[in-house]
Symmetry: C2
Subunit: 149 residues, 2 copies
DNA sequence: CAGAAGTCATTAGCGTGCTAATGAGACCGT
DNA sequence: ACGGTCTCATTAGCACGCTAATGACTTCTG
Protein backbone atom coordinates (compact mmCIF):
# COMPACT_ATOMS: atom_id res chain seq x y z
CA UNK A 1 0.00 0.00 0.00
CA UNK A 2 3.05 2.18 0.34
CA UNK A 3 3.09 2.29 -3.43
CA UNK A 4 0.26 4.79 -3.20
CA UNK A 5 2.69 7.40 -1.90
CA UNK A 6 5.02 6.62 -4.76
CA UNK A 7 2.25 6.86 -7.33
CA UNK A 8 0.99 10.23 -6.24
CA UNK A 9 4.51 11.57 -5.84
CA UNK A 10 5.47 10.52 -9.32
CA UNK A 11 2.28 11.84 -10.87
CA UNK A 12 2.71 15.18 -9.20
CA UNK A 13 6.38 15.28 -10.14
CA UNK A 14 5.56 14.75 -13.80
CA UNK A 15 2.76 17.31 -13.71
CA UNK A 16 5.00 19.77 -11.91
CA UNK A 17 7.74 19.46 -14.51
CA UNK A 18 5.32 19.62 -17.42
CA UNK A 19 3.58 22.63 -15.97
CA UNK A 20 6.84 24.45 -15.39
CA UNK A 21 7.95 23.74 -18.90
CA UNK A 22 4.65 24.91 -20.38
CA UNK A 23 4.60 28.13 -18.38
CA UNK A 24 8.26 28.84 -19.04
CA UNK A 25 7.36 29.27 -22.68
CA UNK A 26 5.45 32.35 -21.55
CA UNK A 27 8.14 33.75 -19.31
CA UNK A 28 6.64 32.48 -16.07
CA UNK A 29 8.00 29.83 -13.75
CA UNK A 30 5.77 27.45 -11.86
CA UNK A 31 6.39 28.93 -8.44
CA UNK A 32 5.00 32.22 -9.63
CA UNK A 33 1.65 30.80 -10.60
CA UNK A 34 -0.05 31.02 -7.23
CA UNK A 35 0.87 34.68 -6.90
CA UNK A 36 -0.24 35.48 -10.42
CA UNK A 37 -3.57 33.76 -9.94
CA UNK A 38 -4.33 35.96 -6.97
CA UNK A 39 -3.07 39.19 -8.52
CA UNK A 40 -4.89 38.55 -11.79
CA UNK A 41 -8.01 38.53 -9.67
CA UNK A 42 -7.09 41.49 -7.46
CA UNK A 43 -4.03 43.59 -8.19
CA UNK A 44 -2.06 45.51 -5.59
CA UNK A 45 -2.29 43.06 -2.70
CA UNK A 46 0.39 42.60 -0.06
CA UNK A 47 2.40 39.39 0.39
CA UNK A 48 0.38 38.49 3.45
CA UNK A 49 -2.90 39.02 1.65
CA UNK A 50 -1.73 36.90 -1.24
CA UNK A 51 -0.77 34.10 1.14
CA UNK A 52 -4.24 34.22 2.66
CA UNK A 53 -6.04 34.18 -0.69
CA UNK A 54 -3.94 31.65 -2.58
CA UNK A 55 -5.65 28.46 -3.61
CA UNK A 56 -2.91 26.42 -1.98
CA UNK A 57 -1.35 27.03 1.42
CA UNK A 58 1.80 29.09 0.92
CA UNK A 59 3.91 31.01 3.41
CA UNK A 60 4.64 34.71 3.24
CA UNK A 61 8.44 34.32 2.99
CA UNK A 62 7.96 32.14 -0.07
CA UNK A 63 5.85 34.85 -1.65
CA UNK A 64 8.43 37.51 -0.85
CA UNK A 65 11.23 35.49 -2.38
CA UNK A 66 9.23 34.61 -5.44
CA UNK A 67 8.10 38.22 -5.81
CA UNK A 68 11.73 39.30 -5.86
CA UNK A 69 12.41 36.98 -8.77
CA UNK A 70 9.25 38.15 -10.51
CA UNK A 71 10.31 41.76 -10.05
CA UNK A 72 13.66 40.97 -11.64
CA UNK A 73 11.81 39.23 -14.47
CA UNK A 74 9.66 42.30 -15.06
CA UNK A 75 6.41 40.67 -13.97
CA UNK A 76 5.55 42.94 -11.05
CA UNK A 77 6.58 46.05 -9.13
CA UNK A 78 6.74 46.73 -5.40
CA UNK A 79 5.20 49.88 -3.92
CA UNK A 80 5.03 50.82 -0.28
CA UNK A 81 1.57 51.51 0.97
CA UNK A 82 1.26 55.29 1.60
CA UNK A 83 -1.07 54.80 4.56
CA UNK A 84 0.82 52.00 6.31
CA UNK A 85 4.58 51.89 6.00
CA UNK A 86 4.75 48.24 6.94
CA UNK A 87 2.85 47.09 3.88
CA UNK A 88 4.24 46.44 0.43
CA UNK A 89 1.79 46.24 -2.43
CA UNK A 90 2.56 44.10 -5.44
CA UNK A 91 1.36 45.36 -8.80
CA UNK A 92 1.44 43.34 -11.99
CA UNK A 93 3.07 44.69 -15.12
CA UNK A 94 1.44 44.61 -18.54
CA UNK A 95 3.62 41.67 -19.33
CA UNK A 96 2.21 39.69 -16.42
CA UNK A 97 -1.34 40.58 -17.40
CA UNK A 98 -0.72 39.59 -20.99
CA UNK A 99 0.44 36.18 -19.83
CA UNK A 100 -2.80 35.36 -18.07
CA UNK A 101 -4.71 33.84 -20.94
CA UNK A 102 -1.95 31.74 -22.50
CA UNK A 103 -0.87 30.42 -19.13
CA UNK A 104 -4.34 29.48 -18.04
CA UNK A 105 -4.86 27.79 -21.36
CA UNK A 106 -1.58 25.94 -21.07
CA UNK A 107 -2.47 24.63 -17.65
CA UNK A 108 -5.91 23.60 -18.78
CA UNK A 109 -4.43 21.83 -21.79
CA UNK A 110 -1.97 20.06 -19.54
CA UNK A 111 -4.70 18.86 -17.20
CA UNK A 112 -6.70 17.59 -20.16
CA UNK A 113 -3.71 15.90 -21.70
CA UNK A 114 -2.74 14.24 -18.44
CA UNK A 115 -6.23 12.85 -17.93
CA UNK A 116 -6.88 12.14 -21.60
CA UNK A 117 -6.93 8.38 -21.14
CA UNK A 118 -9.39 8.53 -18.24
CA UNK A 119 -13.12 8.16 -18.65
CA UNK A 120 -15.37 10.85 -17.25
CA UNK A 121 -16.24 8.48 -14.48
CA UNK A 122 -12.58 7.89 -13.66
CA UNK A 123 -11.97 11.62 -13.59
CA UNK A 124 -14.84 12.01 -11.19
CA UNK A 125 -13.54 9.24 -8.96
CA UNK A 126 -10.09 10.75 -9.01
CA UNK A 127 -11.37 14.12 -7.91
CA UNK A 128 -13.43 12.55 -5.15
CA UNK A 129 -10.54 10.49 -3.87
CA UNK A 130 -8.10 13.40 -3.86
CA UNK A 131 -10.59 15.59 -2.07
CA UNK A 132 -11.13 12.96 0.60
CA UNK A 133 -7.40 12.57 1.11
CA UNK A 134 -6.94 16.30 1.46
CA UNK A 135 -9.75 16.52 3.96
CA UNK A 136 -8.38 13.62 5.94
CA UNK A 137 -4.88 15.10 6.12
CA UNK A 138 -6.12 18.61 6.80
CA UNK A 139 -8.52 17.58 9.54
CA UNK A 140 -6.15 16.16 12.10
CA UNK A 141 -2.46 15.57 11.45
CA UNK A 142 -2.39 13.16 14.41
CA UNK A 143 -1.47 9.64 13.45
CA UNK A 144 0.92 7.81 15.78
CA UNK A 145 -0.82 6.91 19.05
CA UNK A 146 -4.26 8.26 19.61
CA UNK A 147 -6.31 8.01 16.50
CA UNK A 148 -9.54 8.49 18.37
CA UNK A 149 -11.90 11.45 18.37
CA UNK B 1 -10.62 21.28 -14.96
CA UNK B 2 -7.56 23.22 -13.91
CA UNK B 3 -8.59 22.45 -10.37
CA UNK B 4 -7.31 18.95 -10.93
CA UNK B 5 -3.74 20.25 -10.92
CA UNK B 6 -4.46 22.07 -7.68
CA UNK B 7 -6.00 19.02 -6.09
CA UNK B 8 -3.13 16.69 -6.81
CA UNK B 9 -0.59 19.34 -5.86
CA UNK B 10 -2.22 19.94 -2.53
CA UNK B 11 -2.66 16.25 -1.80
CA UNK B 12 0.97 15.57 -2.56
CA UNK B 13 2.06 18.59 -0.55
CA UNK B 14 0.20 17.36 2.52
CA UNK B 15 1.51 13.83 2.09
CA UNK B 16 5.02 15.14 1.56
CA UNK B 17 4.92 17.19 4.76
CA UNK B 18 3.34 14.40 6.78
CA UNK B 19 5.84 11.87 5.49
CA UNK B 20 8.78 14.13 6.28
CA UNK B 21 7.49 14.71 9.77
CA UNK B 22 6.92 11.01 10.38
CA UNK B 23 10.35 10.01 9.13
CA UNK B 24 12.06 12.84 10.99
CA UNK B 25 11.05 11.14 14.20
CA UNK B 26 13.45 8.37 13.17
CA UNK B 27 16.32 10.64 12.16
CA UNK B 28 15.63 10.47 8.44
CA UNK B 29 14.47 13.23 6.15
CA UNK B 30 12.13 12.62 3.27
CA UNK B 31 14.69 13.21 0.53
CA UNK B 32 16.77 10.36 1.89
CA UNK B 33 14.04 7.81 1.52
CA UNK B 34 14.64 6.87 -2.10
CA UNK B 35 18.30 6.21 -1.40
CA UNK B 36 17.55 4.22 1.71
CA UNK B 37 15.00 2.07 -0.08
CA UNK B 38 17.59 1.06 -2.65
CA UNK B 39 20.41 0.51 -0.18
CA UNK B 40 18.22 -1.49 2.20
CA UNK B 41 17.73 -3.83 -0.71
CA UNK B 42 21.34 -3.82 -1.92
CA UNK B 43 24.06 -2.16 0.10
CA UNK B 44 27.25 -0.70 -1.37
CA UNK B 45 25.87 0.68 -4.62
CA UNK B 46 27.21 3.76 -6.39
CA UNK B 47 25.22 6.98 -6.82
CA UNK B 48 24.61 6.18 -10.46
CA UNK B 49 23.39 2.70 -9.66
CA UNK B 50 21.04 4.07 -7.04
CA UNK B 51 19.64 6.55 -9.51
CA UNK B 52 18.97 3.73 -11.94
CA UNK B 53 17.28 1.51 -9.37
CA UNK B 54 15.22 4.07 -7.49
CA UNK B 55 11.47 3.69 -7.65
CA UNK B 56 11.15 7.30 -8.76
CA UNK B 57 13.26 9.09 -11.35
CA UNK B 58 16.05 10.90 -9.53
CA UNK B 59 19.26 12.44 -10.84
CA UNK B 60 22.74 11.49 -9.76
CA UNK B 61 23.66 14.97 -8.46
CA UNK B 62 20.66 14.87 -6.15
CA UNK B 63 21.82 11.54 -4.79
CA UNK B 64 25.34 12.86 -4.26
CA UNK B 65 24.08 15.90 -2.36
CA UNK B 66 21.67 13.90 -0.27
CA UNK B 67 24.35 11.31 0.42
CA UNK B 68 26.58 14.06 1.78
CA UNK B 69 23.91 15.07 4.26
CA UNK B 70 23.29 11.45 5.14
CA UNK B 71 26.99 10.95 5.73
CA UNK B 72 27.00 13.94 8.09
CA UNK B 73 23.95 12.49 9.83
CA UNK B 74 25.73 9.17 10.34
CA UNK B 75 23.46 7.20 8.02
CA UNK B 76 26.04 6.05 5.49
CA UNK B 77 29.72 6.02 4.61
CA UNK B 78 31.53 6.60 1.32
CA UNK B 79 34.19 4.19 0.10
CA UNK B 80 36.07 4.35 -3.15
CA UNK B 81 35.83 1.22 -5.23
CA UNK B 82 39.24 -0.51 -5.15
CA UNK B 83 38.86 -1.80 -8.72
CA UNK B 84 37.60 1.38 -10.33
CA UNK B 85 38.75 4.69 -8.94
CA UNK B 86 35.85 6.56 -10.50
CA UNK B 87 33.25 4.79 -8.43
CA UNK B 88 32.12 5.62 -4.93
CA UNK B 89 30.22 2.99 -3.03
CA UNK B 90 27.68 4.00 -0.40
CA UNK B 91 27.36 1.77 2.63
CA UNK B 92 24.63 2.08 5.23
CA UNK B 93 25.48 2.33 8.90
CA UNK B 94 23.80 0.26 11.58
CA UNK B 95 21.72 3.27 12.39
CA UNK B 96 20.35 3.43 8.87
CA UNK B 97 19.60 -0.29 8.88
CA UNK B 98 17.84 -0.01 12.22
CA UNK B 99 15.59 2.68 10.81
CA UNK B 100 14.25 0.48 8.05
CA UNK B 101 11.36 -1.14 9.84
CA UNK B 102 10.01 1.90 11.72
CA UNK B 103 10.23 4.08 8.64
CA UNK B 104 8.51 1.59 6.39
CA UNK B 105 5.82 1.18 9.01
CA UNK B 106 5.42 4.92 9.35
CA UNK B 107 4.96 5.34 5.64
CA UNK B 108 2.51 2.49 5.45
CA UNK B 109 0.54 3.97 8.35
CA UNK B 110 0.52 7.33 6.64
CA UNK B 111 -0.78 5.88 3.41
CA UNK B 112 -3.49 4.05 5.31
CA UNK B 113 -4.43 7.09 7.31
CA UNK B 114 -4.58 9.30 4.23
CA UNK B 115 -6.87 6.89 2.42
CA UNK B 116 -8.84 5.88 5.50
CA UNK B 117 -12.05 7.50 4.32
CA UNK B 118 -11.89 5.84 0.90
CA UNK B 119 -13.66 2.61 0.09
CA UNK B 120 -11.65 -0.23 -1.36
CA UNK B 121 -13.21 0.55 -4.69
CA UNK B 122 -12.19 4.19 -4.47
CA UNK B 123 -8.66 3.18 -3.61
CA UNK B 124 -8.60 0.94 -6.63
CA UNK B 125 -9.93 3.70 -8.88
CA UNK B 126 -7.38 6.12 -7.49
CA UNK B 127 -4.53 3.79 -8.22
CA UNK B 128 -5.80 3.17 -11.72
CA UNK B 129 -6.23 6.86 -12.44
CA UNK B 130 -2.79 7.80 -11.15
CA UNK B 131 -1.19 5.01 -13.14
CA UNK B 132 -2.89 6.17 -16.30
CA UNK B 133 -1.78 9.74 -15.73
CA UNK B 134 1.79 8.66 -15.18
CA UNK B 135 1.75 6.56 -18.33
CA UNK B 136 0.27 9.40 -20.32
CA UNK B 137 2.87 11.91 -19.15
CA UNK B 138 5.73 9.46 -19.46
CA UNK B 139 4.82 8.28 -22.93
CA UNK B 140 5.19 11.47 -24.91
CA UNK B 141 5.77 14.85 -23.35
CA UNK B 142 4.62 16.49 -26.59
CA UNK B 143 1.53 18.61 -26.21
CA UNK B 144 1.53 21.90 -28.10
CA UNK B 145 1.23 21.29 -31.83
CA UNK B 146 1.45 17.77 -33.08
CA UNK B 147 -0.36 15.46 -30.76
CA UNK B 148 -0.36 12.64 -33.26
CA UNK B 149 1.70 9.50 -33.02
C1' DC C 1 3.35 61.63 24.55
C1' DA C 2 6.40 57.89 25.43
C1' DG C 3 7.13 52.96 25.84
C1' DA C 4 5.28 48.36 25.17
C1' DA C 5 3.06 45.30 22.27
C1' DG C 6 1.45 43.89 17.90
C1' DT C 7 1.79 43.46 12.79
C1' DC C 8 4.00 43.60 8.76
C1' DA C 9 7.86 42.33 5.12
C1' DT C 10 12.15 40.68 4.91
C1' DT C 11 16.43 37.96 5.74
C1' DA C 12 18.93 33.81 7.21
C1' DG C 13 19.48 29.17 6.85
C1' DC C 14 18.04 24.62 5.63
C1' DG C 15 16.39 20.71 2.52
C1' DT C 16 15.11 19.04 -1.96
C1' DG C 17 15.62 18.67 -6.86
C1' DC C 18 17.13 20.10 -11.39
C1' DT C 19 20.64 21.15 -15.43
C1' DA C 20 25.17 22.32 -16.86
C1' DA C 21 29.98 22.39 -16.08
C1' DT C 22 34.05 20.19 -14.05
C1' DG C 23 37.55 16.87 -13.03
C1' DA C 24 39.31 12.33 -12.08
C1' DG C 25 39.90 7.94 -13.68
C1' DA C 26 39.35 3.95 -17.08
C1' DC C 27 39.49 2.34 -21.69
C1' DC C 28 40.42 2.03 -26.55
C1' DG C 29 42.90 2.55 -30.73
C1' DT C 30 46.99 3.30 -32.83
C1' DA D 1 52.50 3.49 -24.09
C1' DC D 2 50.14 7.46 -25.24
C1' DG D 3 46.25 10.49 -26.67
C1' DG D 4 41.51 10.76 -27.23
C1' DT D 5 37.20 9.34 -25.64
C1' DC D 6 34.00 7.60 -22.37
C1' DT D 7 32.23 7.13 -17.80
C1' DC D 8 31.95 8.27 -13.37
C1' DA D 9 31.18 11.52 -9.08
C1' DT D 10 31.21 15.98 -7.90
C1' DT D 11 30.57 21.06 -7.92
C1' DA D 12 28.21 25.30 -9.32
C1' DG D 13 24.22 27.64 -9.69
C1' DC D 14 19.38 27.95 -9.88
C1' DA D 15 14.19 27.48 -8.26
C1' DC D 16 11.12 26.47 -4.71
C1' DG D 17 9.28 25.95 -0.09
C1' DC D 18 9.68 25.87 4.82
C1' DT D 19 10.71 27.71 9.86
C1' DA D 20 12.95 30.97 12.77
C1' DA D 21 14.97 35.36 13.46
C1' DT D 22 15.10 40.26 12.33
C1' DG D 23 13.75 44.96 11.67
C1' DA D 24 10.58 48.55 10.46
C1' DC D 25 6.38 50.52 11.36
C1' DT D 26 1.82 51.04 13.71
C1' DT D 27 -1.09 50.87 17.52
C1' DC D 28 -2.32 50.54 22.03
C1' DT D 29 -1.72 51.86 26.83
C1' DG D 30 -0.36 54.26 30.77
Amino acid sequence: MDEFLTLITQAQKLLHAASDEAMSRHGVRIGQNLILEVLWETDGLTPGEIAARARLPITTPTIVNTATRMEAAGLLTRRRDPNDGRLVRLHLTDRARAAQRPIQEARRDLAEHATATLTDEERHHLRTALTKIIQQLTAEPAESDGESE
